[in-house]
């Protein structure tokens, strides 16, 4: 499994496009790459624009009047945003840890060829890949039977396991961990739980990291679970907060008003437009900084997923 993104293609070694074609291709990619990044830069620049300039002349590619008032406001009016940040962080951390444990343990069990229930559990994992109950009955079960409405677990549990990840783990364990290692541990009297936690997990860091990263990003970026299950504003994640800010500009002001500040004064003075974009930037920033470093893991994860075992 190559995790390198640099490549030594046959093409590169033996034949090359002409200089003109190369420049032309480079131009195309420069344009494409900019098109992918510029929209985010625009949001950043709006978040640094003064509310006045937005009100008068609208959004711009570059701020007309530079101002940090949106961020100052976000810090000052912190409770709501801080709480949302806290919910997002909690959900991401707990969800990732739980998801990794549930996924790898199932993957390990399925990778043991002598296990008696192997066939049965394989079906348990496999069937949901082709058939599901659909949104309505899932919603009904989760709210009515499991009582997940307005609970932080509604943001964590439904996303914890995916059959695809379980199969990636199973394939990884099967192909990289020598049977002899497990057998010798068994002979030494180690229980399967102990083998899993103190032998398998530590030597399987590549797949743990891959699955963990996938889970981490999907928890951080999730908004759908909030939209479905969360009505209580105190349990809003950053995504849900931005979502409600996008549909209701006054959400922030209302919240502030309930804290004792005059509603009218706040609506008049708060930086609504730029605060919105500031929250978007708070969401994007960790992702934008993290993913270039983890890109190679993602690519290798994609490759593990593409290679069937």
């Amino acid at each position: 499994m190559s995790t390198r993104t640099t490549y030594e293609t046959g093409l590169e070694k033996f034949n090359r496009t002409s200089k003109v074609v190369n420049i032309f291709f480079n131009l195309i990619f420069i344009i494409l790459a900019l098109l992918c990044v510029i929209p985010v830069v625009v949001v950043l620049s709006i978040s640094f624009s003064s509310e006045e300039s937005i009100r008068e002349t609208g959004y711009h590619l570059l701020p007309v009047a530079l101002s940090g008032e949106a961020y100052a406001y976000v810090v000052k009016q912190g409770t709501m945003i801080l709480r949302a940040l806290g919910v997002s962080a909690l959900v991401t951390v707990v969800g990732t840890v739980l998801g990794v444990l549930l996924t790898t343990s199932m993957g390990y069990v399925l990778s043991r060829p002598t296990y008696k229930l192997n066939g049965f559990l394989t079906w348990v994992v496999f069937i949901p890949m082709i058939f599901n109950g659909g949104l309505v009955s899932s919603y009904f079960i989760n709210t009515n039977l499991l009582g997940l409405k307005d609970s932080v677990w509604a943001l964590i549990l439904p996303l914890a396991v995916s059959s695809f990840n379980v199969i990636i783990c199973k394939t990884f364990f099967k192909s990289t961990i020598p049977d002899g290692l497990i057998e010798s541990a068994e002979i030494d009297g180690a229980s399967q739980l102990r083998i899993f936690f103190s032998i398998i997990l530590p030597i399987s860091l590549p797949v743990v990291a891959t699955i963990g990263l996938f889970l981490c990003f999907s928890y951080w970026n999730d908004w759908f679970q909030s939209m479905l299950y969360i009505d209580n504003q105190n349990l809003y994640s950053l995504q849900a907060l931005l979502n409600s800010l996008m549909s209701n500009v006054d959400a922030l002001a209302k919240n502030a008003a309930s804290m004792g500040v005059s509603y009218a004064v706040l609506v008049a003075t708060m930086p609504k437009e730029s605060a919105r974009m500031a929250v978007a930037i708070i969401i994007v920033l960790p992702v934008a900084f993290a993913y270039p470093f983890f890109q190679k893991y993602f690519i290798s994860g994609l490759m593990i997923g593409a290679v069937k075992g």
């Binding site: 480079n26 195309i28 929209p39 949001v43 309505v136 890109q295 994609l302």
Partner: protein, 318 residues
């Protein structure tokens, strides 16, 4: 003779004997199995909601047992409305376009980026183009608002500066098929490119070596080596995408359009309709639409997998 038969018997018995380690492995698998039962298998039985006149009130069991059977009434209701055909047209129509563009563009750009001389530059391009893939739809919706907002949006300002009239984009359905397709390509291009590029870079360089000795030009190499080698991956991803043809990216169609009512005809897919009806508590119709989606989705996945097995037995799921 007898002893080998006995040995065989013994081995057979051993294989079916329950060991201590089986108990331990079962314990290890138990939490995940419970998760599967709660979040995957229970909802499968919840599908009977589609055949009932359902209201969420009171406890779980009383809900299930006390709501009256209506048979296929919900389905009749769904398919008699005009909405059914609009959402099926949208769901399948957009998916066909997404599947075609989702293959042609990433393959094209993956081949092109593989031909670049400067590796460092190509890595920078890849990283930059991968960014949209990591943005949530809520953030994309905010990005869209920055460009398309009626009074402040950048697009309208550019129009006004060029002497045109501002357009109320969120009220104009005619533009949205293009916006939705464009955004889908924007978000997925970097990801798709990486998958194909990974395949291209893993190709054995001796093919190209031989081709160069035979005097093949770079275009001939692409045409006769790179593309045929990509064919299998392309076919695989194509069939997988076809298997998901009744499912759409809810975020794209709901968040980015900001659930604007004027865009109903061009931006409502099965997922969006199910969600909206669920939220407006018209459960029967939502459940029947979700049921149709699940069953047809299951059928297409099975058919797609059957085709994969014909094309390449090793890649089939089952």
């Amino acid at each position: 003779m007898r002893s080998t038969a006995e040995q065989k018997n013994k081995r057979k018995r051993l294989r079916f004997q329950w060991h201590k380690q089986d108990t331990e492995l079962t314990l290890l698998a138990l939490p995940t199995t419970i998760w599967y039962i709660l979040f995957c298998f229970l909802p499968m039985f919840g599908i009977i909601i589609a055949f009932k006149n359902f209201r969420i009130s009171g406890g779980f069991l009383s809900n299930v047992f006390n709501s009256p059977w209506v048979g296929f009434k919900n389905f009749e209701f769904l398919f008699k409305s005009n909405d059914a055909w609009i959402i099926i047209r949208n769901t399948i129509g957009y998916n066909i376009i997404f599947i075609i563009l989702g293959i042609v563009l990433p393959v094209l750009f993956a081949i092109m980026i593989g031909l670049l001389h400067n590796r460092k530059a190509s890595k920078v391009y890849q990283t930059m183009m991968f960014l949209p893939y990591f943005l949530s739809w809520v953030v994309v919706s905010a990005v869209g608002w920055a460009f398309l907002s009626f009074d402040k949006g950048i697009l309208n300002q550019m129009l006004v500066n060029m002497g045109g009239d501002p357009v109320n984009w969120y009220m104009e359905p005619s533009y949205w098929p293009y916006f939705l397709i464009l955004l889908n390509v924007w978000k997925g291009l970097g990801y798709g490119m990486v998958i194909y590029l990974a395949t291209i870079t893993s190709l054995d360089s001796t093919y190209y070596e031989a081709a160069v000795i035979d005097g093949a030009s770079i275009w001939q190499q692409t045409r006769y080596i790179t593309l045929p080698m990509l064919k299998l991956v392309i076919v695989m991803l194509f069939i997988l995408a076809v298997g998901r043809i009744f499912y759409t990216d809810f975020g794209l169609f709901y968040q980015v359009t900001r659930d604007s009512n004027s865009l109903f005809n061009v931006a409502t897919t099965i997922d969006v309709l199910v969600y909206k009806q669920l939220k407006s508590a018209t459960l029967g119709m939502a459940a029947s639409a979700a049921f149709v989606q699940s069953v047809l989705g299951c059928a297409t996945i099975l058919i797609a997998n059957w085709i994969v097995r014909k094309v390449d037995p090793d890649s089939a799921m089952m």
